[in-house]
């Protein structure tokens, strides 16, 4: 091997061009035949075809048996948008996005900034804050169901301590969604914090020091130096927050299951409750199509507007 490379070293330039035009045609076909089809088959069969079928089924009324024949055009979609539970789900998904952007991301940035200081215990704090993100949504949801429980939970004890009537937060139509939102922030802020910690590590210290010498206050340093330097992290974090908010399901199921009276429904819990459990394939597929269109529009629009520099 060493002898080989030594002898090859001299005419390396010539060899590189020659070898590169036909990089050992030996085995090119076998490798394509062996290596590509498994991925292609799995992906087509379980990702692309189902998505196409969702678009197709969404035009039918169908219970999932035999073949869909009862063509109803876009009726499933008009049913959907006239359904109070579904519009509530859309509003809730919007609310989740707003809370993620206005509460969760600032919280994440604030914590990341604090953890950038060299104080003892930073690593421990970082671990603790990331912990909820690692837990399964279902487990986190059940834990918070206990926290909110009006008879045995922490809220019961807190209310008792202040001597007020115990609130049954998750059974209250008006409060339940806020309770769910709090759990979402609790569960996901650590992930965003980690993104910002990574982003902050790339910030050049000397720029901050220069600003300090010029007499910038703490807030000015943050607003005019750190934040602009974090902008690509910020765009990424916002993107994840939006996409994550749209597909929320696992966390809501153990908490409220979409209730009480549909007040905490999200698009996916709606799809599950009305499409899957009642086997209304057409209606459920229509929800899938709506979700797909929103996701793809966001992904393309966001990439085009905000991420073209990255």
């Amino acid at each position: 091997m060493t002898e080989m490379t030594a002898s090859v070293a001299a005419p390396a330039v010539a060899l590189r061009t020659v070898k590169y035009k036909s990089p050992t045609a030996r085995g090119r076909l076998p490798v394509l035949i062996l290596f590509l089809p498994p991925a292609l088959l799995l992906f087509t069969l379980f990702v692309i075809l189902p998505m196409g079928e969702a678009a197709w089924y969404s035009l039918y009324r169908w219970n999932g048996y035999g073949t869909p024949t009862d063509f109803v055009g876009i009726r499933n979609f008009s049913v959907l948008f006239n359904n109070a539970a579904f519009t509530q789900a859309l509003v809730n998904n919007g609310l989740i996005i707003v809370v993620s952007l206005l509460l969760q991301i600032p919280l994440a940035i604030w914590l990341a900034m604090m953890l950038a200081h060299k104080i003892t215990g930073v690593v421990t704090f970082r671990l603790i804050f990331f912990l909820p993100y690692v837990l399964a949504d279902v487990a986190a949801g059940l834990i918070w169901r206990f926290v909110y429980d009006g008879d045995y939970g922490l809220f019961a004890a807190i209310a008792g301590f202040f001597g007020v009537a115990t609130p049954y937060v998750l059974a209250d139509r008006d409060l339940a969604i806020y309770a769910v939102l709090a759990v979402i922030v609790w569960k996901y802020f650590g992930f965003h914090m980690m993104l910002y910690i990574a982003g902050l590590q790339a910030v050049d210290r000397s720029v901050l020091e220069a600003a300090e010498i010029d007499g910038a206050t703490g807030w000015q340093k943050f607003r005019y130096v750190t934040l602009p330097l974090l902008s690509s992290t910020l765009r990424l974090s916002v993107f994840f927050a939006i996409i994550g908010s749209l597909q929320l399901f696992d966390l809501v199921m153990p908490l409220t299951g979409g209730g009480p009276s549909n007040s905490t429904q999200t698009m996916v819990t709606f799809l599950y409750t009305y499409g899957v459990t009642r086997m209304q394939v057409g209606l459920g597929s229509a929800v899938g199509v709506v979700l797909f269109v929103i996701c793809v529009t966001l992904a393309f629009g966001y990439k085009r507007i905000f991420m073209r520099h990255d």
Partner: protein, 273 residues
């Protein structure tokens, strides 16, 4: 640093840490209480440590079966995801063929939407294939939906391996497949680790796919099992809390043991794609 700043930092950080930890710690402690104790004193230490809540679960079959199911599903998912996506990514990185760029974009479509969008047609497909209520019905869609990101991560990594390796190997008469097996894969441990961690965590925590594909309780992975348990024991919160604690315990232990890799894997997995 001024003492006031230091104080402010520690106070704020501790406050948030408490908000994170209190629900978790009270859950674990709640598992040691009797129901009456839990009702009057959900925050404090148990008046009497009721170990039987935990030991009954640990000596029962149910807990271990669910953990075993989850482990089996997650392991097969990780294995298939790594093998299938590494192979596909290798062709994208090293083999020039007609339509490669288009095919890569085809796989990237998978990054744009969640499983939930196609869950009903997926259910019908799995049913028609006769895979309903089998582990394969959960594993195959999981692998398929993980392919987009995994292929992207692998391809970027393979591409950055030094070109000289490739040329040296080919001069020595090494074919693509041997190169993949003897050079690419052994050099790619970090990215194999990242892909494995991401797909393992996703599968271990996954709820909606098994919920729709599995009907038999003995086949349930733990997120489904825990919901069934909670449904059965209703307001006997002390048992439910013990069960929750035991099911998240492996995650917490592994997280603390391998925190560096897990944090890096989960954030890098997200960022690099």
């Amino acid at each position: 640093m001024k003492p006031a700043t230091r104080l402010y930092l520690y106070l704020s950080l501790s406050l948030v840490a408490c908000l994170v930890l209190v629900p978790l710690v009270t859950t674990a402690l709640g598992g040691f209480k009797s129901l009456g104790d839990l009702r009057v004193n959900p925050f404090g230490l148990p008046e009497q440590w009721v170990w039987s809540n935990y030991t009954d679960i640990l000596f029962g079959e149910r807990y271990w079966r669910q953990m075993g199911n989850s482990l089996l599903i997650a392991s097969v998912t990780v294995f298939l995801t790594v093998v299938v996506s590494a192979m596909a990514a290798f062709t994208f990185a090293h083999v020039k063929f007609f339509g490669a760029a288009q095919l890569m974009n085809y796989f990237l479509i998978g990054l744009m939407f969640p499983v939930a969008t196609a869950i009903l047609p997926l259910f019908i497909r799995i049913r028609d294939l006769g895979l309903l209520d089998s582990y394969w019905g959960v594993i195959l869609p999981q692998v398929a939906f993980g392919l987009g990101m995994s292929i992207l991560l692998f391809r970027n990594y393979f591409r950055n391996l030094p070109d000289e390796l490739f040329q040296a190997a080919f001069v020595d008469g090494c074919g693509y497949i041997r190169f993949f097996w003897h050079v690419s894969l052994p050099l790619s441990r970090p990215i194999v680790a990242t892909v494995s961690i991401v797909s393992f965590v996703n599968s271990w925590n996954s709820y909606i796919l098994p919920l729709i594909m599995l009907n038999t309780e003995t086949k349930y992975p733990w997120p489904l099992g825990i919901m069934v348990y909670r449904g059965e024991f209703g307001t006997e919160w002390q048992l439910v809390l013990a069960f929750i604690t035991l099911t998240i315990l492996p995650t917490v232990i592994v997280f603390f043991l391998a925190q560096k890799h897990i944090i890096a894997g989960l954030t890098a997995g997200a960022v690099k794609s």
